[in-house]
Amino acid sequence: MAEHILQVKDIKVRYSSIPVIQGLSLAVDPAETVCVVGANGSGKSTFLKAIMGAVRVFDGEILFQGREIKNLKTEEVVRTGITYVPEERMLFTALSVEENLLLGAYTLNDKERIQENLQFVYSFFPRLKERRDQATLTLSGGEAQMVAIGRGLMSNPSLLMLDEPSLGLAPRLVDEVLDTVRKLKREGMTILLVEQNVRESLEIADRGYVLQTGRIVLEGTGEELIRSDVVRKAFLGI
């Protein structure tokens, strides 16, 4: 196996003494797309927040590019090259599309690079270019998600973490978002994806993990998981 870009070893998280992540290990290799699936409340978002330093991890290790990043401040984690596109999107709704995107490049100082990234995001999401001056409050759900993902790309991350990017979108838009993930993968982006659309996302992913009440119960290639009994019963309803 190639050297892992992200390696999580046996981490534990609790919310006021209630264990939510109970010894979770996972690895992501460079240019790989890894998908985590699990039922509602199984701890997927908590896991990503733990990597981001947004919730406290009280045991285990998180190595990113060989460096221990466990319990760094969120802004320091971002500076190591990880971006997180939260489930709630967390756009700055009073600001325009472009202002949101530029905030995504906050950790960069090179103005030319920022402009290049902006053009890249606009070529990736042409609709955002049309709406660059519009306040993000007034965007449709699909467009808002594009801004959230685009903003996550603005800092040239080494690892992009997407938390249920298709949440709350109409079926056509779900396909569009998953297509975006596919395209990003083709661009060579390293992606850690959490999704509810289990079959589609496991088809995109190189590998996947199944999370159940804070533990990994199964891991394998996307195809292996789609064919597994656990996934078939719990998520595909077969």
Binding site: Y84, F92, L102, L103
Partner: protein
Amino acid sequence: MDILVSSLFAGLLIGMVLAMVALGLTIIFGVMEIVNFAHGEFLMVGMYTGLLTAQATGMEPLLTLPVAAAAGFLLGIICYFGFVKFVIRGPMVAQLLGTFGLMIFLRNLALLFFGAEDRAIHQGILVGKSFNIGMGVIAPATKLAAAALSVIAFWAVWLVINRTKIGKALTATSLNPQGARYMGISTERMNALAWGIGGGTVTIAGALLVNFWSVNPFIGLLFTMIAFAIVALGGFGSVSGAFFAGLAVGVITEIPGIWDFLTYIFNFGWMADVPMTSLKYMWVYLAYFVIMIVRPRGLFGWKR
């Protein structure tokens, strides 16, 4: 007619300074959603800084601004790291009582060092001079200069907030702190910066104000309340809102003059008997009260 124009003009002039007084309060509220009850005491610090620097160095009082700004910026940062940072972990009531305590502390410190008596600036090239603006309006030079410098300082802060990267980060922090952290913004630093700017701008206002308003250790509360009304009128956290609300409140404080004008026009005997001047600040609160009922989010909406 003259009295109306000169009242309005005087109202706008003082309004420009009041906008500067309120600027820091709205910025701190915008970023941290905490009301600084010691805001007027920060202003008092600015007034004493301006006054004492001018007296100690013989410097032109209006040129003491940078000293006052630096003192206020430091004061804000020190208060944040030494005190506010811990208080915000507690419930809202603890925050209120906390900044209230800060107010008492600063007030008593001033009492200890400077005594209770009023102090005012008596020398300076502008003191005692005034300009005839035309239409019968005569404006004291110190007020004109204070208003002009307030507008310039306000504009500069507006530019920093709206046109610079750090200003955008400050705005992002005020809109969604967790989202801001996910962008790599240190919200802790932004909070401190908000307190620094908040302190630095209100002390600038203080150093301007002291040129025509005497200072004593109890001066703070009146201005805290005025600033509070301005922030509520303009919309909590709204910077441009604070400017226009400042002008409005300035004009409102001149209602006695406007009343005189109406008395003169209508010539009702009873009108002259209303003790308008003593009711000066009541109008500010009446306006505040009405706005809170009609437009609870202020004239310009929150945080923009």
